[in-house]
């Protein structure tokens, strides 16, 4: 059965339409491990559970520091919402940047729901025109959800998932509203 996959957007562009073979070269890349270790190299390289433990311990060591930073980032988000919604472009940039940081890091440091809410907020802001910022409801609710998730990390997962669904519905309603208004 032929392989099913998403075609590359460059797919086919390297053909020139006639029978001349395209200018294609394949280069065998040596294993970095083999090159660096020489005679000490033992194939294949495997994940070492002791090393993995060490890495996870490293993350745990950074968690407390990150939790403190997260609190001050949420306070900053709350401060930035109003000026951002009033059109302050610098505030908008900083608000997005903070949410983007949370999206990327919170999950790693044991705050998966903060990361999910931040991801939802970033998704909204990435597709948001100026009008969307003016109606700050969606942004305010997201910031509140992030703050709640930090203050009450042991909230029932079902409740947080329900909040996430509610935020998605709010985003959809806001989009419909904007479309209606043209």
């Amino acid at each position: 059965m032929p392989e099913r996959r998403t075609p590359s957007r460059l797919g086919g562009q390297d053909r020139n339409g006639d029978d001349t073979p395209p200018d294609v070269r394949f280069i065998r890349v040596p294993s970095i491990a083999e090159r660096k270790l020489g005679r000490e190299y033992v194939a294949p390289m495997r994940l070492d559970p002791r090393v993995l433990d060490q890495m996870q311990e490293t993350i745990r060591g950074l968690e407390t520091k990150y939790a403190e930073a997260l609190k001050s980032q949420v306070s900053m988000l709350q401060i930035l919402v109003e000026p951002a919604c009033k059109g302050d472009t610098e505030a908008r940039g900083r608000l997005y940047s903070l949410a983007h940081d949370m999206r990327g890091l919170a999950g790693t440091f044991g705050h998966p729901m903060v990361g999910r809410f931040a991801d939802s907020l970033c998704g909204y802001l990435e597709n948001c025109e100026s009008e969307g910022w003016k109606d700050g409801t969606v942004i305010v609710f997201h910031v509140d959800a992030i703050r709640d998730a930090i203050e009450n990390p042991k909230t029932d997962a079902a409740v947080t998932m329900e909040t996430l669904d509610a935020l998605e519905r709010l985003i959809e309603a806001s989009r419909r509203d904007r479309r209606k208004r043209g």
Binding site: L52, M55, H100, D101
Partner: protein, 165 residues
């Protein structure tokens, strides 16, 4: 005494988030990597490239002024230069299909979605260190072979007819 390959690596980390740079650097150090260079965007990474000569590049996607896609593209454009073959792991929160496909078509070796875990990072590193995919050069693409599976393919298979260099 046997050494770990990580003890012999130089890694370039490119991310505009100071926390992310710190996290990646700390995790690499926990693996034993002795030389970790940090850059805040693609422009700074480009400047650093010749100084640090990395074995692996870990780069974020969305950065200003030089984003990770642009940086990866410039890196892959270095034909006839060993640096042009360096494995690039893109570490990004933009996990939509369009971003992943864009990364693939620019020649990014592996895509690691944020939030990262120790295991996901470790596994991607092993992948690029020990299981390299052959490199393909065409007029429009330069990077690791995008066909990961050795499955039947509807179309002309050019791999059989081209000598490996």
């Amino acid at each position: 005494m046997s050494h770990s390959v990580f003890e012999k690596l130089t890694v370039l980390v490119v991310d505009d988030s100071a926390y992310m740079r710190h996290l990646l650097m700390t995790l690499l150090q926990a693996l034993g990597v002795p030389r970790v260079f940090l850059a805040v965007d693609g422009e700074e990474a480009w400047e650093l490239l010749n100084t640090c000569r990395p074995d692996i590049v870990l780069t974020d996607a969305a950065m200003v002024p030089g984003d990770g896609f642009m940086f990866a593209k410039r890196l892959r454009s270095l034909r006839g230069h060993a640096l042009g073959l360096v494995p690039i792991i893109m570490v990004s929160g933009h996990t939509d299909l369009a971003s992943v496909e864009r990364a693939r078509d620019i020649g990014v070796t592996e895509f690691l979605s944020k939030p990262i875990s120790a295991r996901s990072l470790y596994e991607r590193l092993i992948q690029v260190l020990d299981r390299p995919r052959q490199f393909v050069e065409t007029p429009t693409y330069r990077g690791p072979d995008r066909r990961r599976r050795n499955a039947p393919f509807a179309g002309e298979d050019r791999r059989g007819g081209v000598a490996l260099i």
